[in-house]
C-alpha cells in the first residue's frame, strides 16, 4: 500500500496487480487538478480487507472512488465487485472497472454486478490521459453522491 497526500484529499482506491499499470495511472494522476490520495492494493483479498477495515487496515480511509482491475490474483475483480455491491456499507462507493478486456461477457457481467462504469484501457497514452481525467472529473467533482 502506498499513500500519497494531496491538499484536499479525495481517496482513490486502486486495485491493480500490474506494477507498470499502477505506476502509469499514478503518473497520469499527477496531472490531475483535483487534490487526491491514491491508495493501492495488488490483489482482491487485500482489497476487501482494506474496505472492511480489518487487520492492518483498521484505520483505513474510506475511498471516494474505486478503480478496479478484473483479473487479479487470489480473488478476482468480479468477486471483489460482487462483494462491494452486496455490502450495505460499501455499495454506494462508485466503482470503475478499468481493464484490458473487451470481452462481452466481462462487460455485461460487470454491469449485472452493478458496476458504475466499465472502461477499457487504451494503448494510446493520450486516450488514457483523457479517460483518467474524465473519471476524476466526473466521479470526484461532478456527481453528487450520498454521504456514508
Amino acid at each position: 500500500m502506498s499513500v500519497e497526500t494531496g491538499e484536499r484529499h479525495k481517496i482513490i482506491f486502486l486495485v491493480e496487480d500490474n506494477k507498470a499499470d499502477i505506476r502509469l495511472i499514478q503518473e497520469v494522476l499527477k496531472h490531475s487538478s483535483i487534490p487526491h490520495q491514491v491508495v493501492t492494493v495488488r490483489n482482491g483479498m487485500d482489497a476487501m480487507t482494506y474496505l472492511r477495515r480489518e487487520g492492518e487496515y483498521a484505520d483505513a480511509l474510506r475511498p471516494d472512488l474505486i478503480l478496479l482491475d478484473l483479473n487479479l490474483p487470489r480473488k478476482d475483480g468480479r468477486e471483489v465487485l460482487a462483494e462491494i455491491k452486496s455490502d450495505p456499507s460499501l455499495k454506494r462507493i462508485p466503482v470503475v472497472v478499468l481493464t484490458t478486456s473487451k470481452n462481452e461477457e466481462d462487460i455485461s457481467q460487470s454491469y449485472e454486478l452493478h458496476v458504475n462504469c466499465y472502461i477499457t484501457k487504451s494503448r494510446n497514452l493520450n486516450d488514457l490521459f483523457k479517460i483518467v481525467k474524465g473519471i476524476e472529473e466526473f466521479w470526484l467533482a461532478t456527481v453528487t453522491l450520498p454521504l456514508e
Binding site: 499499470d21 503518473e27 483479473n71 484490458t100 473487451k102 494503448r123 494510446n124 493520450n126
Partner: protein, 769 residues
Amino acid sequence: MNQTDFPSADINFTNFEAQPIHISGKIQPHGVLLVLQEPELTILQASSNTSEVFGISPSKMLQKKLPEVLDEFQVERIKAGLTADSLDFINPTKIWVRKKGDEYLVFDGVFHRSHDGFLILELEPALSQDNIPFLSFYHLARASINQLEATSNLRDFCQIIVQEVRKVTGFDRVMLYKFDDDGHGSVIAEEKLDTMESFLGLHYPESDIPKPARKLFSSNWIRLIPDSHAHAEELFPSINPISQQPVDLTLSILRSASPCHMEYLHNMGVGASLTISLIKEQKLWGLIACHHQTPKYVSYELRKACEFLGRVVFSEISAREETEDYDYRMKLTYIQSTLIDYMSQAENFIDGLVKQQPNLLELTSAQGAAICFGNNCTVIGDTPKTEDLNFLLQWLKNNVQEEVFYTDSLPKIYPDAERFKNVASGLLAIPISPKNYVLWFRPEVIQTVNWGGNPNQAYEAKETETGVRLSPRKSFELWKQTVRLTSLPWKAVEIKAALELRKAIINIVLRQADELAQLAHDLERSNAELKKFAYVASHDLQEPLNQVANYVQLLEMRYQDELDEDAKEFITFAVEGVSLMQTLIDDVLAYSKVDMQGVEFQLTQVETALNKALNNLRTRIAESGASITYEALPTVMADSTQLMQLFQNLIANAIKFRSEKPPEIHVGASRLEDAWLFSVQDNGIGLDPRFAERIFVIFQRLHTRDEYPGTGMGLAICKKIVECHRGRIWVESELGNGATFYFTIPVGGRERERRNGRKTQNHLFSGGQ
C-alpha cells in the same frame, strides 16, 4: 391345359382328412382276414372271401374255432408261438389249407393283436418264386451298405436306396419322398422306367397324405397294395359281436386303402404300390413309394426285408442328415466369424458386411439383404424397392419388439408385401435399435423350386363324371397354391446366426458410439480451450502490449526535448509494431469467433446485412470516392452478423485494392438449383489467377504492409464464414482488370446446419484450405 385353370376348390380335403381308414372294415381281396378271440381262437369275424380259400362261407365260419378250420398240428404250433413275447417270431407262419383232397393252398400267416384286444390272422398267398427272400435281402442290404460308404451327400445316398429297392422289388418306379417341417413333401430321389415321366423335384401339399394316413404310416411301416383295381372284401359281420364296434384294423397288412387314395393311384396309372415308412424320432420323416403300372404282388418276406432296409438304412440317412446339418452349422459359424472380422476391420461396419466374400447373404442363405441405419439402407442381392423398404421398416418399428423377427410368409401378416413377393415372401429381421435393422429376404418358394419335368405336359387333372380328380400335376398345382406367398422356411441355425450377428453389430456400434462420444468430448474440451485462448488473446496478450505502447509514449511525452530524431523514429517503429500486433490479435480473434457452433441461422435479408456493412465502411467509402451498386437481393438462411462481416471484408478489400480509378463495386445475386450465388465485383488492381487460391489462406498476403496494410486474415475469415454456411467462395480475376469474388449460400441452411452442426469445429490455425 393351362396350369392356372385348375378348379382347386372342387375337392373337399377336409372330408379326405376325416375319413377313418382304420375302421373301414374292408380288406384287399388277395388275402383272407380272420378276427379271433383268444385263447380258444374262436372266429368272431371273417372276410367275405372265405369260401374261395376254405370252401366255407363267412357265416358258417363264425363261432368255429381255428382248429376246426386248420388241422390240429398247425394250430398247436401257432398256439405255442402266440405265447411268446413278440409275435414277430411266428410272423410269417406258413399255413397250409386243404382245398380239396390233397390239394393244399400255402399261405403266409401273419398275426397281430388289434388295439381293441382281438387276435387278427391274415393269410396271404405264399408265392413259390419268392422263396429266396434272404438272398434278395442280403443283396439289397450289402449293395446299399457298400455304396453308403462311398457316398457323402444325402441326396446321392437316397438315390442309391431307390435304385436298390427297385432292383430287388422290380417296381416300375421307386421314389423317396421327404416331408418338410410344415407337412408338405417333395420327391428327392427317383428310379423308374425310362418311358415314364419323372416326378423328381415335384412338391406335394400336406393334404395329399392326410393326417390319418400319416398316422397309419407311422404305426404300420410297410403297406402293400398289390392290385389297385381289386374290389375290397368286407368283414362279416361288419360289427364285432364282442365289442359291438367295427374292429380296429390299424395294424392290418391287408386293410384296404381309402377310396380317395385308390383313386389317386388310378389317376397316376398305378396298378400296384408298396410304401415303406421312414421314421425319425417317432415322426414320419418320409416314405419310399414304389409304383407299378400293373398289379404286382410282393411276398411278406421281401416286404419285411424292405422294411428292414427302411429301418437300418434310414438310421444312416438320419445320420447323414445330421452331418449335413452339422456341416451347414459349421459353415454358418465360419461365415459369421469372418463377417465379424470384416466388420471390425472396416471403417464402417456395413462395408464389412457387403463388400467382401462371404457376405451378409450367405449367413442365412438369403437372396437379398438390407442394412438400414439412420436414413440409409445399404442393400445387397434382390430386395424390395427403397420406398417399399421404408414402409416395411415403419411396420417393423410398430409391430416388432423382439430381438429377432422371422416369417416365411410375410404377405400373410403384412399384405403390402404381396407386391414384392418375388423378392421378399420370407423375411428375417434383427432390430439393432428401435430405428436400425438388418433384414434378409427370400423370394416366394415357387421361384426356387426345382421343376422335374415339363410343366405343360401330362399329369393334368382329369375331368370325369365325378368331377376333377387328383393327379400328380394337380397335386403340384395345389401345392403351388398352398405355398403361394411363402418362402423356404428359415432354419433354426440361420436364425441363430442372425442373432449372433446382432450381438456382434451391437458391440461394434456401441464401441463406435463410445469412440464418437469420446471424440465429441475431446472436441468440446478443445472448444472450451479455444474459448479460453480467445480470452487470453483479448486480455492477457493485450496487457503487455498496452504496457509497451504506453511507456514508450510516456517516454516520448516526458523527454520530448531531450530526444534526437533517431530516438523519435525508433519510438515510432516500436509503437507501430505494437499496433500491428494488436491488429493481428484482433483479426485472429475475429477468425476464431467464426465457427459452426456460433452460427445462428435465421431468415436474413441480405440487403440489410449489406447495408450494415456499408455503414461500417462509410468513412472508407467516402474517402475513396467509391460507388457501390447492388441488385435485388434475396432472403437466405444465414447468420446475419457473419453475413454482414463477409460483405464488409469483401467490400473493404475491393476499396483497399483499388486502381487509379475511383472504385466501382457491384454486388450481384442469382439463384442456382440449391443455393444462391452472390458476387462482389470491383474495378481494382485485380490479381494473378495463380494466387486465386492462396489469398484465402490465413496470413497469406500478396503485398508488403507498406504497399497495403493488413494481416492477411480478411479473406481467410470470409472463407470460413462461407464454409460455416456450407457454401463455396472463389475469385475470378486478371491482373489489372478488377476482380470478382463469388460465394454461395445453400438454400435450406437450417437443415444442413442441424445435420452437420456438431461435426465442424473451430480449428483456429487450420483455416486456409
